[in-house]
Amino acid sequence: MAETQYEVDLGNLLAFDAHHQFASPPSSREEIVKEALEQGTKLVQAVADALFNLPSTEDLEGPIVKLPAPTSRLPREKPLPKPRPPTKWEVFAQKKGIQKRNKEKLVFDEQTGSWKRRHGYDRVNDDNDIPIIEAKATDEPGTDPFAERRKEKKSKVEKQEKNRLQNLKQAQKAGALPSHIQLAATSLPITGTQTMPKKVSKDELQNVAGMAATSTASGGKFDKKLPGEKPPKHEKKYRKFLPAVEGSGMGDMERQQTEKVLNKLISKNSHEILNVEKAVNMYNVKREKRQRKQGGGQSSSSSKFKPNKKSFKKTSHKGSSSNKGKSK
């Protein structure tokens, strides 16, 4: 084989012989293997030549070389991250030229004369540890300064949380939200013209498919189902019967059933059970009678207007008989 230039990619430790051809179609497998190993040796030698000639530094385990970047480009596995927009504080600090200063973890506490930690258990300048707060001239007599301090701290914490949320929203707009955070809109107030579009839940969507299915001639029974679509919700039984045997005597379920039916019927026909017109007439008649008695003393035959008490007893017949003549 003529010595040709191999394409060497040092960053990947790759050597590619673009000019090699099998002289004759390889007869047996061993030949291929032998040929492959031979050529492979040459290629690896070429890479090693370039590799060992790089400037190396001695280390305990062996010489260490600095590899160049690989020349053959391979695709990324994830999209490029977008740069995070600076937070409000960062913008302000840059404008003012404020440098970040790392604080030490231990601070010297004058009161006890020892080194205490800055944050955490038994910290320096703990807000809760102040025993006495001197009253200022501006303080009103009734206010509790400890409660005031607590309120102030709480408002500060809330303000900080609000600012953090605003910063995250800005980051989300730019598409650069940190990976461990997800922003979820829970309840948004109705602001002016735009209201949040109502998000359809998974259950509602499943029901919609069922509703569409009922519009088909066979009630959606033979429709092709997508994978993951649940069969339409329907109980096998169309009618419910009470159990044949349930305890002794009239069981609770049977009683409930009959009670339900009775209540329904009575409420439906209550206007027929109690004939309001008749009751009003009777009351008026009674009143007139009384007036006449008081007024004149002339008694008119009231046989016609005697209250017919029998009408109230119709309730026991479940109201069916009262329907006969009434056209309501």
């Binding site: 430790l13 790759l14 492979g40 010489p63 590899l67 994830k78 955070i181």
Partner: protein, 314 residues
């Protein structure tokens, strides 16, 4: 707005590890198989797993619904890729039409990027090779690659296969390399326009006169013939996006700076002409004070206008 933040430090660190980075570290591989596999394919999959021990995950159950080349059959693969954070996968299946089938695929952003389907023939496992045990390559060492044959350049499918094989076995991209730890080579020879001979060899470095040692290859690992069956190229737009590098990483050319060995670093500064005539003068310019004083002196000759006396109320 509600923020869902994982507050536990460990979980947060894991999520940050999986976040997209500017410069990417090694890709993980997912090895799994379909409904039916043959013994050959099983050993191929286990051997690939052993070759890539540190950064690969092997699933042992069969997966029915995966058909990489069909449009609907990729959903499972993408889901696994998402859950295990693997961007390379090796899917083995065996059928009458495609015996000993191996699909090598890559994902971008957990969606299928490209696929190469390859059939395995004449497989020889690692155990069948006898060699001096001292030569055995270490797990995780950076391998050499040797691609032989012009077909790798001329034939589209083999070019694709070369890229995928490089991606699969490359390991991490490192800047500092310990020369004592080089002990393996992957040799791929194009036997014909659709068949390659793939072999894994150990390196023996022998003393030679110069700094560069003499290389000797000893076959240790699995060797097989790969017959390219089908392949799918990535979409052009997807390819463009995946090949993007960060703009900060491209070296910026510095203009007007010259490095001289004698004088050191020299820079040229261009100053535009100052337009003296057009500049507006403010009242605060010191030079004007003289003028004002002169003007005042001149004006004192003429009598100052008498101040109007206030007429008292008449």
């Amino acid at each position: 707005m509600r923020i869902k933040t994982q507050t536990k430090g460990r979980i947060r660190r894991e999520l940050d590890k999986r976040a997209p980075k500017l410069v990417e570290t090694g890709k993980k591989t997912l090895i799994l198989h379909g409904t039916k596999t043959s013994s050959v394919l099983n050993s191929v999959l286990t051997e690939i797993y052993h070759l890539k021990k540190g950064n690969s995950i092997k699933y042992s159950r069969k997966n029915d619904k995966i058909r990489p080349f069909e449009s609907g059959g990729e959903a499972s693969l993408e889901f696994f890729s998402l859950k295990t954070d693997c961007s390379l996968f090796v899917f083995g299946s065996h059928s009458k039409k495609r015996p000993n089938n191996l699909v090598l695929g890559r994902t971008y952003d957990h969606h299928i990027y490209d696929l190469v389907e390859v059939g395995i023939e004449n497989f020889r496992s690692m155990e069948s090779f006898s060699y001096d045990k001292k030569l055995a390559p270490q797990i995780g060492s950076k391998p050499f690659f040797a691609f032989i044959g012009e077909a790798f350049e001329s034939v589209d499918e083999l070019k694709h296969l070369k890229e995928v094989l490089l991606d699969l076995f490359r390991g991490e991209v490192v800047t500092n390399l310990n020369l004592a730890g080089l002990d393996r080579v992957y040799v791929c020879t194009a036997v014909s326009s659709n068949k390659i001979f793939f072999s894994h060899c150990a390196l023996r470095l022998k003393k030679s006169g110069t700094v560069v040692p003499r290389m000797e290859l000893v076959e240790v690992g699995p060797s097989m013939d790969m017959v390219v069956r089908r392949h799918r190229h990535p979409d052009d737009s997807l390819r463009k996006e995946a090949m993007k590098t960060a703009p900060e990483l491209t070296k910026k050319k510095v203009k007007n700076v010259v490095k001289d060995d004698i004088q050191g670093k020299l820079g040229k500064i261009y100053i535009p002409d100052q337009k003296v005539g057009d500049m507006p003068l403010t009242n605060n310019v010191k030079g004007l004070k003289e003028e004002r004083r002169e003007a005042k002196m001149k004006g004192e000759d003429s009598k100052p206008t008498p101040k109007k006396q206030k007429q008292d109320a008449e």
